[in-house]
């Protein structure tokens, strides 16, 4: 690990942290501030149960947990997955495309060290986004009656997106290590994110698709259930374990990547394993 590179990598993410964090904080504050107005209106409105399930909630939308789940928690993870894809593919494949990776890797620093610095920066950036995001709750929740929800519940729910962000960030870094370019890796990852999100949503309402949940990382993120059902810690553990495996695979593939070759590199994993063994 290289402290200078980690500092620089986090610094490079400062605008991401600011804009994603501030945007979500403003949105969070807005949703909570509007809740009293919507509560009465929603109490008189009935939505079809399947419609609510598609958005990951159920029951009475005039309750604060169902309202915030529908308006916020059910789709905010998708926004943070955009961060994971942009930063995960940009961390190394983006540098390679810009031409800055060549000079960096020509320095006396191991590829593993470069990889770990960038992966850590991705995770630290996500933590900071959640922290800035939480300021939105802190600013408004004390002034609105959300009982039985507390400020702590909302902050905890905000931070539970981290494992799934790390999972997709690691997958994006793996894609960047084998794809010919950052654009290709980002395109593939966007398709994967959209497909898993839609599949998770459809699996809520279509019985025949229920089995797919077991293989869908988005399902394990519990974004749509965390406020109504609480944190399922083993789901979070599955995502963390998956993220660690993917980070390890991405590190090996990056170790075996031919820099500036501009081609698909499926053999990068094999070359990387040889390099790690050597």
């Amino acid at each position: 690990m290289n402290a200078g590179l980690i500092r620089r990598s986090v610094r490079d993410l400062r605008w991401h942290i600011l804009w994603y964090g501030a945007g979500l904080a403003v949105y969070a504050a807005f949703i909570v501030a509007l809740f009293p107005t919507f509560r009465d209106f929603l109490g008189d409105t009935q939505y079809p149960e399947e419609f609510l399930q598609f958005f990951g909630t159920s029951g009475d939308l005039s309750s604060p947990d169902a309202f915030i789940t529908t308006e916020y928690n059910s789709f905010v993870p998708v926004i943070l997955l955009i961060y994971a894809v942009v930063v995960g593919t940009g961390a190394l494949a983006g540098d390679e495309g810009r031409g800055t990776l060549e000079n960096l890797l020509a320095q006396p620093i191991s590829r593993l060290s470069v990889f770990v610095s960038r992966a850590l920066a991705l995770v630290i950036g996500a933590v900071l986004i959640c922290a800035v995001n939480s300021l939105g709750w802190v600013a408004v929740v004390p002034f609105v009656d959300l009982a039985p929800l507390s400020l702590g519940d909302l902050v905890l729910a905000t931070f539970t997106v981290l494992p799934v962000v790390a999972f997709f960030g690691a997958l994006a870094m793996l894609a960047g290590a084998v794809a010919p370019s950052r654009g290709m890796a980002a395109g593939i990852m966007t398709a994967v994110v959209v497909a898993t999100y839609l599949l998770a949503s459809f699996a809520q309402v279509i019985e025949a698709l229920e089995w797919t949940r077991n293989f869908n990382p988005y399902y394990y993120s519990d974004g749509a259930r965390v406020l109504t059902e609480g944190v399922v810690w083993w789901h979070q553990a599955v995502l963390v374990a998956g993220a660690l495996v993917l980070f390890a695979l991405a590190a090996v593939a990056f170790s075996g990547r031919e820099i500036m070759a501009g081609t698909w590199q499926p053999r990068a994993l094999v070359r990387g394993l040889r390099a790690v063994r050597a």
Binding site: R7, R8, E102, N103, L105, A106, P108, I259, A261, A278
Partner: protein, 298 residues
């Protein structure tokens, strides 16, 4: 021990053979030119040396260390300038120097660094994103030189530089060699190789076609001699030329001859005539290079 040793280096990209058995040995303290047209394999060979890409087969050693197995230790011995240096965005040149010093974990001598900055006429306070191609090249050159690495590898070092700065770069590289450090640089500009290299290799289609000592090459190479006679020589006068001399052209009182193995035999031949003027010129590397390629083609 060689500063750089490359043995039977082969690199394939699918069906494309970028390197086809490259052998090189660069001695410590020399300025070694790696000469060849674009696409000959120069940058590929350099990237293998730096472990940016892995060879299909063959071996690279830097000061005796295996460049793949001990790549970090190897790169600690190297200062590198890529062919198109791109700097991390959002930094001034000075911050770029600090950043790479942090990454390397070693601080350059501030006086030496400042000397390089001033010598190349670089405004180190400007953001690198606002710099021209030439000024980015200067930043890259300072980065390659500032840690006083024992081996400096430069890929097309004078690209984008004005002639005055090119002269400064050449002088700086001579000084590097004078300190006992080694310079290995690729170029397709024959004049700069000729100006600063002690030895050079010509690479063509992924193979080394010749490695030559430039001073020795100049000594052995034929001299181009232009003679202005006092009066036009008689017809058939050049039939009696010594075997080591060849008539290139003749027009009136002016003749151009090429003398091999020194000019003594030619001078003795010319002594029979009234000579109004005489000039002897060493061949440029370009003439040698072009001559070499013509020989290869024929």
């Amino acid at each position: 021990m060689d500063a750089l040793r490359v043995e039977r280096l082969v690199k394939h990209y699918g069906s494309v053979q970028a390197l086809r058995g490259v052998d090189l040995a660069v001695r410590p303290g020399e300025v070694f030119g790696f000469l060849g047209p674009n696409g000959a394999g120069k940058s590929t060979a350099i990237r293998v040396i730096l472990d940016l890409i892995r060879p299909t087969s063959g071996h690279v050693a830097v000061f005796g260390r295996d460049a793949q197995r001990e790549s970090v230790a190897t790169r600690r011995q190297i200062g590198y300038l890529p062919s198109d240096p791109v700097m991390p965005p959002g930094m001034t040149a000075r911050q770029v120097f600090d950043f790479y010093s942090d990454v390397r974990g070693e601080r350059p001598d501030p006086a030496y660094l400042q000397g390089l900055v001033e010598r190349f006429g670089l405004d180190a306070a400007r953001p690198v994103s606002a710099l021209s191609r030439g000024n980015r090249q200067k930043v890259g050159l300072v980065l390659a030189l500032m840690h006083r690495a024992p081996l400096v590898i430069l890929d097309e070092p004078t690209t984008g530089l004005d002639p005055l700065v090119q002269d400064e770069v050449e002088a700086a590289l001579r000084e590097v060699a004078a300190e006992g450090r080694t310079v290995f640089f690729s170029s397709h500009i024959l004049a700069e190789v000729e100006s600063i290299c002690s030895r050079a290799a010509i690479v063509r289609q992924g193979q080394i076609v010749d490695v030559f000592d430039l001073a020795e090459q100049r000594r052995l190479a034929p001299r181009r001699v232009e003679v202005q006679f006092g009066r036009a020589p008689d017809e058939g006068a050049f039939d009696a030329l010594p075997a080591s001399v060849q008539l290139v052209s003749q027009e009136g009182r002016r003749a151009v001859l090429e003398a091999r193995d020194g000019v003594d035999a030619l001078v003795k031949f010319l002594a029979r005539y009234e000579v109004a003027d005489l000039s002897v010129r060493q061949p440029t590397l370009e003439e040698l290079f072009v001559g070499y390629y013509r020989e290869e083609e024929s």
